[in-house]
Assembly symmetry: D2
Homo-oligomer: 487 residues x 4
Amino acid sequence: MEQYKVKDISLAPQGRLQIELAERRMGALLEVRKRFAREKPLAGVTVGMALHVTKETAVLVRTLRSGGAEVAITGCNPLSTQDDVAAALAEEGVAVFAHKGESNEEYYDFLNRVIEFMKVEVRTPSESPPLRGGEQSISSPVPILENRGSSAAAGTRGEARRGGRNLITIDDGGDLVGEIHKKHPEFIANLIGGTEETTTGLIRLRAMERDGALKYPVVAVNDNKTKHLMDNYYGTGQSTLDGITRATNILWAGKTVVVCGYGSCGKGVALRARGMGSNVIVCEVDAFRALQAVMDGFRVMPLAEAATLGDIFITVTGDKHVLRPEHFSKMKSGAILANSGHFDAEIDLKGLREMAKGVRTVRTMLDEYTLPVDSSQSTVHSKSTQTVNREPMTDDRVLYVAGEGRLVNLAAAEGHPSEVMSLSFCGQALACAYLVENLGKLEPKVYVLPSRVDDDIAALQLEAMEVRKDELTEEQRKYLSSWEEGT
Amino acid sequence: MEQYKVKDISLAPQGRLQIELAERRMGALLEVRKRFAREKPLAGVTVGMALHVTKETAVLVRTLRSGGAEVAITGCNPLSTQDDVAAALAEEGVAVFAHKGESNEEYYDFLNRVIEFMKVEVRTPSESPPLRGGEQSISSPVPILENRGSSAAAGTRGEARRGGRNLITIDDGGDLVGEIHKKHPEFIANLIGGTEETTTGLIRLRAMERDGALKYPVVAVNDNKTKHLMDNYYGTGQSTLDGITRATNILWAGKTVVVCGYGSCGKGVALRARGMGSNVIVCEVDAFRALQAVMDGFRVMPLAEAATLGDIFITVTGDKHVLRPEHFSKMKSGAILANSGHFDAEIDLKGLREMAKGVRTVRTMLDEYTLPVDSSQSTVHSKSTQTVNREPMTDDRVLYVAGEGRLVNLAAAEGHPSEVMSLSFCGQALACAYLVENLGKLEPKVYVLPSRVDDDIAALQLEAMEVRKDELTEEQRKYLSSWEEGT
Amino acid sequence: MEQYKVKDISLAPQGRLQIELAERRMGALLEVRKRFAREKPLAGVTVGMALHVTKETAVLVRTLRSGGAEVAITGCNPLSTQDDVAAALAEEGVAVFAHKGESNEEYYDFLNRVIEFMKVEVRTPSESPPLRGGEQSISSPVPILENRGSSAAAGTRGEARRGGRNLITIDDGGDLVGEIHKKHPEFIANLIGGTEETTTGLIRLRAMERDGALKYPVVAVNDNKTKHLMDNYYGTGQSTLDGITRATNILWAGKTVVVCGYGSCGKGVALRARGMGSNVIVCEVDAFRALQAVMDGFRVMPLAEAATLGDIFITVTGDKHVLRPEHFSKMKSGAILANSGHFDAEIDLKGLREMAKGVRTVRTMLDEYTLPVDSSQSTVHSKSTQTVNREPMTDDRVLYVAGEGRLVNLAAAEGHPSEVMSLSFCGQALACAYLVENLGKLEPKVYVLPSRVDDDIAALQLEAMEVRKDELTEEQRKYLSSWEEGT
Amino acid sequence: MEQYKVKDISLAPQGRLQIELAERRMGALLEVRKRFAREKPLAGVTVGMALHVTKETAVLVRTLRSGGAEVAITGCNPLSTQDDVAAALAEEGVAVFAHKGESNEEYYDFLNRVIEFMKVEVRTPSESPPLRGGEQSISSPVPILENRGSSAAAGTRGEARRGGRNLITIDDGGDLVGEIHKKHPEFIANLIGGTEETTTGLIRLRAMERDGALKYPVVAVNDNKTKHLMDNYYGTGQSTLDGITRATNILWAGKTVVVCGYGSCGKGVALRARGMGSNVIVCEVDAFRALQAVMDGFRVMPLAEAATLGDIFITVTGDKHVLRPEHFSKMKSGAILANSGHFDAEIDLKGLREMAKGVRTVRTMLDEYTLPVDSSQSTVHSKSTQTVNREPMTDDRVLYVAGEGRLVNLAAAEGHPSEVMSLSFCGQALACAYLVENLGKLEPKVYVLPSRVDDDIAALQLEAMEVRKDELTEEQRKYLSSWEEGT
C-alpha cells in the first residue's frame, strides 16, 4: 500500500517552512511535545486522524510522534488541505492521504486508507511492543499532568490492553468515527478511544451515545474551555472574516452582517464583524443565547426577517439548511453567503442552484448565482444594481457564495491561526495521553477532560506568551475555603 | 414585636413610585408574578430574606407574596438600602428591617429580627394552612414551568411537609444562612431550603457543604445562566462604573483602570471600562481567566506591578485583602479605589487607615486618605501633584476610596438596573417554587436549577423585550438528533 | 449692589472641597494658572461670564483672577449651577449670581447683574490701572505661548486700549452676547472681545456675523481641536449617559438608543452608548455625517422611522424641535427622552404637554407624561405594558423626559468631568490673553485661535497626564520638508 | 510605441470579472460615470495616471473615458499592480504600463511612458478636438454638481485653453508630478492641473509650493472629507490588517500592536486592531494626536520604549526611518514589521539588512531576518523561542517583514475595498472636471475642492447604499440661521 497520497511531494520544503512558522506561535504545544519526548506516553499507539491538514495540524502530528505514536492522517474537508504541508508530512514519514479539492469519492477513499493503515498496524506490531496497564509504572509514560505540582501516582490501572497496538482516532466532524462504526465494526475492539474536535462532531456523537450506537469512548476535546472558548471564539471569529475578505475583498465597515447561530463560534464572528465596523444581526433558536445577543447590543430577529436586510450572511450553527430558498428569494442583490460551520449543509446550495438561471465562478472561492428578478419579493432592495449601466447587471439579481459553502475560513483562507490551534491541539495531545492512562476504565461514552487538564493548558499558554498571572496569598487561600467570616 | 424598622415611613409614596418604575422594566418577573397569583405555589410558606432592599427587590417581594408567601426582609449590606423603598414595603405590610447606613450592631440585630419573624411564623400558622406534598395535585400550585410545552406531571412527591409553615431563606452573601447555622440550629428543621444570590455566598456555602456543616438544601441562584451571565456581567459592569462616576465624577476616557478578578463580574467591569475609553489592566489568579483577559485585548500582570500604573482600581474577586498596604504604597497620588465584590474585605481599609496621616470625606461616598509622601517607592508617579501650586496638595500623596470599600454600585449608586434584576429575581422566585415542589427530595447540599428553568426565564425576558428568536424546522430538529449524514 | 446672589453661602466649605478635587484633575489649567500668576496677562481686565457654575468653572475663575482679572459670573442654564461651588466662589470674592433651579426671570436678571458689574467696572477703575498696548513690553504679560520654543517677540501692537478697564465676555450659548447686543449697545465700545464655548452659541454668532449684527470680536473656543474634539466628544459622550443613568437607572445593554445629530457631541454619545451595550440608531441631516455613522456601524434612518424603534432618544443637534409630536405619537410606551444640546428647544416639550393626559415627576429629574393610548399608531409596541397587571399602567402609554429637556448631563449629573474641562478652559483662559494681546487688531468677527495655541494646550495636558510622545529625528524633519526623494 | 505593457494579456477575462465585481460595490462612482457619459466634461482631455492598478482604479479609468478623456496609466508602487486588471484595461484600449513586481528601472521607465503618451497626445490631437473655455456652454459639460438642486449657471469662464489637448495628471504619492517637474519642464505648459491622492504626496507638493517649485495647480483629493476620513480611516484600517493577516496568518487577539502615526490612517489601523482583540500602543510626534490616542484608550509612549513590547509594528506616518536599527535591536524575537504608508522608507530595511546574519523568504510577502542574539539588549524577551527545541530557532532572534516594507495592504492583499475607493475616486473624477471647469483661473498651488463637492459625493454614496438621512424642517432651517431666540 502506498504510504502517502499528496498533490506534489516537491512542495515539501515550502511546507516545512510553514510548519516551522506555526511552531514559533505554538509554544504551549511545543512544551507538551517536550514532555511527550521525555515520557513517551503514546508508545505502542497508532493514531488515525481525520483533521484539516494544515501547518498547525502538522505540529500536532509531530507532537504525537514525539510521544511515541505512529500516525496516519487524512483531511476532514475537501477544501481545507494545505498541499505543501501535506507534502512535508509525507516526507517526514507520516502516512498522509489528502489534497486540496478532493472529490467526494477521494474523500471517502482517503478516510478508508487511514482505517486500513490502522488495521495493518494492529496486525503488525511495531518494534516497541504495546505497554500493558500494569507495566506503566516502570516507564511512567502517563502522568503527564500530575508532575505539575501533584504527587498523585497513577497506580495500577488493573487491566491490560487488548493486544497488538492500541488504536486511537482523532476526528473533526465525526466522519472517521462514523465510517468505522458503519463499515468496520469488527475493528472497534482494538480502539481504546477517540477524540473529537468540533461542536458538530459532538452533536453526532452524543446522538450516537443516546441511541446506544457509540461503541468506544470518545473525548470531547471541543468541550475544553481552552478549546471552545478560545479556538471557536477567537479563532473562528477572526478566520471567518478573513476567509470572506479573501474571497470577496469587501469593506466590512457599514455592512449589515447576519450571523446565524450565537454559540461560541457565532459570538466570535459577531464580535469581530462589529470590530470591523459592521452592523450585526443575530439569528438564534436558543432563548438564552438570543438574550445574550440582545444584551451584547446586537439586533435579534428571525432569519425570515433578516434575509431582506443583510449584506453578508454567515452560518455557524452545526445545523442543516439554515439558509434556504425561502431566504434566498428575499435577499438583496449582491448579498454574500458564507458558512463557517463544519459541514456544507448549512447553506442549501442545491436549493440555490435550482433557483438560479446561471452560476459562474468570479474569483477563487467566489461563485455568483444569478436569480430571476422576480424571485425577489423585495424589489425595493434590488435598486442598487439598477444604477449600474452595464448589461449583465441591469436585470439580474445575484447572490455570491464564498468557499462553495464549505467552512470559509479553511476554504478561502488558512483556517485558524497557529496560536489558537496550539491550545486546541494541546487538548488533542493530552486527550490521547488520557485515553492511554485510563485504558480499561472508560465506557463507550463521550467524556470531557478533567478541568486540571484545561488549567494546565492555559498555564502553558500564558507561559509561552510570557504573561504573568497573580497568585493567592496564604491568607486569601484560607479565606476562600472558610465560611465563618461575615459582613 | 415591631412589624418593621425603617428610616422614615413617610417616604413610602416616593418608594412606591420607584417600585412602579422598576416594574415597568421587569416584565419577565411580572409574568412570573401572574403565574404565582394564579397558582399560589408558595401558599403556607414564610420567606426570610437578606437582600439589598432596593426597588427591584421590592418587586420580588411582591411576587413572592402573590404566590402566597409571608415575607420578612432585611438588607444584606449596611449601605445598600433605599429608604423610600423600605418605607413602601413596610406600608404594604412586609416585615422590613433596614435603613441605609446601619451600624454593624444594627445589621446583625436586623438579621435576627428576620429570623425571629420566621420562628413566630412557625409557631403561629396563618389562616391558610400549609399544603402537604400529597395535596398539591389538587390546587396544582407547582408545575410552574411544565406548562410551557412539557406534559410531565409532578406526581406525588412522597413526603409531607414537616408541619407548621414551611420556611425558606433568600440570602445574598450568606450572612442569613450563617447566622441561622451559628445561632439558631434548633430552627433548621423547619427550613425546607434556601437560595443564594451571589458568587461570594456560594464560595461560603460550598465550603460549608465540603465541611459537612451545611444543614439544609440551598439553591445556587447565582449559577443560573440567566443570573451570573446577565446580572454579574451586564449588571455589575454598568453599575460599578456608575457608582464610581457618582462618587468621583472622573472622566473614564484615557484612564488606566485595574480590574482585579476576571470572573463574570470582572469581565463586565472590564468591558464597560473599555467601552468608556479606559485602558484596562486585569489581575487574576486563575490561569484560564488570565488567558481570556489577554485574548480579550487587555494587559494582564500581577497586581504588584499594576499598582504603579492604575488610576482606578476595582476589586471583584470574592476574596480578601486584594488591595493591601504593599499596593497602596506604590500607587499614584490621586488613585481611586473601589470594590464591587460582596464583602468590604477586598480592600484592606484597616491597613490603609494605619498608613494614613489623615482621612477626610470630600464628597458623598468618597474618602480621601493622605499618605506620607515617603510611603511611595515610585516617586516618579507623584509628579502630577507637584505641578499644583496649592499647599495642601504639594507635599502629600492621596488615595481616594469610593463607597467606603463596600460594593460601590449599591453604596454610591442604585445597584443593578431593574432589567437585569428581573432575570435574577425570576430565578429567586422560581427557586422558591422549586424548593416547595421538591420538598422531601433534597439533601443539605448546594443545588443548581435545571436548565429548563433558565431557558424559561430567558424566554420570558425575550417576550418582555418583544424580541423574536428563530425556531428550528422539523428537518433541522431531526438533523440535530441524527448522526448518519456525513460530508 | 449685592456682590453675590447664591442659594446658601454656608455651602462654601463643601464647594471648596469640590473645587480642590477638580483642580487635582485639571493639571493643564493649573499650569496656565502658574503662567498667568507670573505674567499677569489680564491685569486691568474685567471678565463677565455666563458659564455653567460648576467646580471646573471655578478653577477657570481662579485662573483668570490669577492672571489679574476681575470676574463676575452667572450661570448659562437654569439647572446647571452647583450651589456649593457658587457659595465657595462668592466667599472668595467673586461676583457670582446663580443658583440651581432659577426661574426664567431670575436667569435674565442674573445675566444683567453681570453686565451691570462690568459697567461699574468700566466707570470705576480698580487700583491696578489698565495697561495700554504700548506699555506691555515692560511687564511682558502677553506672550504666553511664545515662550514654548518660539522666540517671536510680540513687539508693539500699535494701538492703545480704549480707556478705563478692558472688558471681555465669556459665553456659553450666546445669551450674554445676545443680551448685550440687544439691551446694552452703548456698552459695546468697552468690550475688547468675547469668547464662546459651544457649537450652539457659534451657530448664533456666525448668523450675527453674516447679518452684520455682531459688534465685537469673539473667539470661537469651541473650534479648538482641544475643545470640540475632546470636550464635545469624550465629555458629552460620558456625561450624557451619566445624566440619563442618574435620572432613570436604566440598563443600557440591549437598549435601542436613537442619537439625533452626529457632530462631535453625537459621535461621542453614540460611541459611549455602544460601549455600554446599546444598539444605536443615528438620525442626521448632513449627508457626510450620515455616511460616517453608517461606516461606524450604526443604523441611519429618518427620525420618523426611528421613533417607533427607540427605547431612549437623545438630541444633540443645536437645532429646534428635533423631537416633536409627530414622533411622540409613534414612540413605545416607556421610552425615555433626553437632550444634551445647549438649549432646551430640541425636544418640543410644549407639544408633548399638549398631547399628554397628565404629567408627574417620578424621580428627581424624571417626568412621566401619560399619553392617551390612541395617540399611538403603533399599537404593537405598547404590548410590554399590558403584561403588567397594575391598573395605572394597563391602559396608558407613558413617555419619560429626563432633566426637563435641558442638557441632561448638567441637569441630572455634574456636567463634564474635570479632566476634559481642563482642556476647554485652557482654551478660554488663553483666548482671553489672546484678545488682550491682539487688542486693536481684531474686527467684529468670529475668530479661531491659531493652531499653536491648540498644540500648546495638548502638550500641557499630556504633561499633566505624564504621557510622553515621540519626537522627530533631524533626518525625519528634513524629509518631511523636502520633496525630492521618490519611490 | 507600444500601447501597453502588461504581464499577460490573456488574463484580461479574469480582470474584467474583477472590474465588474468592483463596479457592483462602487455605486456612487457609477453615478458619476452616468453624468460624465451624459455631459462629457473631459472631452479633449488626456489624463496621465500613476495610481495603483487595481480593479477599483479600472472603474475610475472607465469613468474618465466615459467623460471623454484619453487615459494612460502606470502603477505608483512596484508591488501593487493586479496583473489581470492591467490586462483587461489594455484590452479595452487603455495605455497601461504596469506589472506586479516591477524593478525600480521599470518603475521609472513606465512613469516616462505615461509622460510620453501625454506628449504625443499634445502633438496629435484626437478626432474630438479640445473644447475651449468659451465653447463649453454649448454642450454644458461642466456643472456636474450644480444640477443637484443648484441653478447656478457656470457662464463663460473667460479664457480659452492653451491649444492642443488639455492634460491632467492623477498622482498617488507625487512621483509622476515629481518626474515631470524634474525631467520634462517644457511640457508643463500643457498641463491644466493635477490631482493627488495621498497624504504623503501632499506633504511633498506643499513643500514644493512653499519653495515655489510647483509649476501647475494640483487638487488635493486626499483632503476631501469623503476621502481622508473614509478611505484613509476605514479603508487603510481594514486593508492593513488584511495584508498582514495574509502575509502571516497570525492571530490578532492578545497581540500587542504598535501603531506608528495617529493620523486618519493610524486611527483606522488602531481601531481595527482593537476590533480584532489586540492591545494597541500608539507612537506619535504630534501632541494633539497623542492626546487623542490616550483618550481613545490606547497607550502612548515613545517608540524606543514600545519597541520592546510589540508583537506587530505598523508604520503609517508619511515619514522616513520610523523603525530603525535602534528599535530593531530591542524587539522581541518573532516580531512582525509592516508599513502602510505610501513609501517604503518608513522601515529602514537597509539598516535591518546590515544588522542581519541572514534573510529568507518564508512565505509570499514575508521575509525573515535573523539577527545575532546579542543584538538584543532585552534578553528577557527572547525566552519564548528558547522553549522550542528545534535547532534553527534555538539561538537566533528573528524579525519578520511583511510585504517588503511596501504598503502592505496592496503588496500582500488587494488594497482598499471597492466601496471606499468609490468615494475617493468620485473625488478624483470630479477633481478632473473641476480643473477643466476652472481652466485659466487656478494658480500653481495646492487646492482643496469646495465642500459642496464633498457633500455631493457623500449623498451619492448614501443613495448607492440605500440609506436615507433626515431633512431639516422649514422651522429648523430658519432657527439655525437666526440668532434671536435665547434660553
